[in-house]
């Protein structure tokens, strides 16, 4: 993973001294020390692996960042410009690289980003059975309940969703699952089981409409709802009799219900379950499961 994308002086200690299986996030900023996040803790990257001392840390420079982005785009930045406009690139291995730099606007439209100054590399993980505790609350005899996975960034929403697809698909509930993978992060390895179709890099609106029309799914699973038009897509799926499991950024159920974009669909009680994850005991800590009235069903 990330071989050929990261420069040698970063790749070697990460791969051989730290191990990618233990890393959640790598932050590389121009003229600043490289930070790695492992099991909820932050470390500097040194030539000998992870360390806490700043004087041993490896420092990144601007050319390093430019080269990482160039390599992550498979030497073709023009081919990923639509992703760059949204602030990230996803590699073919499903690694999402968040970008910071100068935004170029033209007539009010975002044209591209240049002079990259930092990247945030999020390493995807497959944690088998991480969704099992919540499984029985989401999947009933009658079918799958519309569910939202709520957590702050980096707390394991995508990993949870990926395992949930696998669990449902493996149990063969005669469900046709459509995975709408807008950022190319869900569909990595063989983690999505045997009975799922995947639409990648499509907006929610287009993906929901085309997917429902052409693939007749029973269940749509997608990552990170947030825009107003996403709510329209959710409503369209719900009205079409398709179940939805999705995720959303928020640090608690209280702050989530205050999000204006969700007000209408919460009032309509489209979602029947809310699963809250946190970083309290490392990524993927299950905090609680709530019903459509926000009554807590389970506590850990």
């Amino acid at each position: 993973m990330l071989e050929g994308i990261l420069p040698e002086q970063i790749f070697k200690p990460l791969a051989h001294k730290v191990g990618f299986s233990r890393i959640n996030e790598i932050r590389i900023r121009a003229d600043k020390p490289i930070l790695i996040s492992s099991l909820g803790q932050k470390f500097f990257l040194s030539e000998l692996g992870a360390c806490k001392e700043l004087n041993r840390a490896v420092f990144a420079d601007k050319s390093m960042i430019e080269e990482i982005i160039f390599r992550a785009s498979e030497c073709s930045i023009y081919s990923v410009n639509e992703q760059i406009k949204k602030g990230y690139i996803v590699t073919k291995e499903g690694v999402r690289i968040g970008l910071a730099g100068n935004v170029i606007e033209e007539n009010g439209d975002l044209k591209t980003m240049t002079s990259f100054s930092s990247v945030n590399i999020r390493i995807p993980h497959e944690v088998k059975n991480c969704s099992l505790k919540a499984f029985s609350s989401i999947v009933k005899e009658s079918g799958v309940l519309n569910t939202l996975i709520i957590s702050p960034p980096g707390a394991g929403k995508t990993t949870f969703l990926r395992d949930l697809v696998w669990q449902i698909s493996e149990r063969n509930l005669a469900y046709n699952i459509l995975v709408l993978d807008e950022r190319g992060e869900l569909n990595i390895g063989k983690g999505l089981g045997l009975f799922s179709d995947v639409i990648s890099f499509s907006s929610k609106k287009l993906g929901f409409e085309n997917g429902i029309r052409s693939l007749a799914p029973n269940l749509i699973i997608t990552d990170e709802l947030g825009e107003w038009e996403d709510m329209e897509a959710v409503r369209y799926a719900s009205n079409s009799g398709v179940n939805i499991i999705a995720s959303v950024h928020s640090d608690s159920i209280e702050s989530f219900v205050r999000k204006l974009a969700f007000k209408e669909i919460l009032d309509e009680k489209i979602f029947k379950r809310f699963v809250v994850l946190s970083m309290r005991e490392g990524p993927g800590t299950l905090e609680g499961i709530y019903d459509e009235n926000f009554s807590r069903l389970m506590r850990w």
């Binding site: 390599r71 785009s73 030497c75 930045i77 023009y78 591209t112």
Partner: protein, 164 residues
């Protein structure tokens, strides 16, 4: 024996003339191919937005015919197997002048580093410079290419007369 030596000497002179004239032919053919290569890339980047490596690999042989391996050397860099240096890019290419090499190097270095619009403009700018190079090369080939070959023949005849 004397006649064999005379024939060898004559052919040697003609061959030498031909060898020097080939340099000019190669230069002209190279720039002509490079312009075609750049134009194809421009069209494909605008149309399919496919990755650079795939574009070059799947490009028809006609467009790469006289690039003398520069495309393959660039693919090695895209694979991450080598750095993009003058030595690596112009391996086995002796007939280019250093300023021409610099322009071509900058052209390859610019590929894949910007969005479609900027990439397209950049390719168009380089294509203009390659057009100028091609015009110079065609002129040189016309002037010096045939001159070298003719000089080779004249030198051969001269040797032939002296030896006889």
């Amino acid at each position: 024996m004397k006649w064999v030596l005379i024939i060898i000497m004559f052919l040697g002179c003609v061959g030498l003339g031909w060898f020097f004239s080939m340099k000019y032919k190669k230069r002209e053919a190279f720039f002509s191919s490079l312009i075609m290569f750049a134009q194809k890339l421009d069209v494909e980047i605008n149309f399919s937005r496919e990755r650079l490596k795939k574009l070059i690999e799947t490009m028809d042989e006609k467009s790469k015919k006289n690039l003398f391996g520069i495309d393959k050397n660039f693919l090695t860099y895209l694979d991450g197997s080598s750095e993009l240096t003058h030595e690596a890019l112009f391996k086995n290419i002796q007939f280019l002048k250093s300023e021409e090499k610099e322009t071509i190097f900058l052209f390859f270095k610019s590929l894949g580093r910007t969005d479609v619009l900027s990439q397209s403009k950049e390719i168009a700018n380089f294509s203009k410079r390659f057009d100028e190079n091609l015009a110079t090369c065609a002129n040189e080939n016309k002037k010096y290419g045939s001159l070298c070959f003719k000089l080779g023949i004249i030198a051969g005849l001269f040797v032939l007369v002296i030896l006889i």
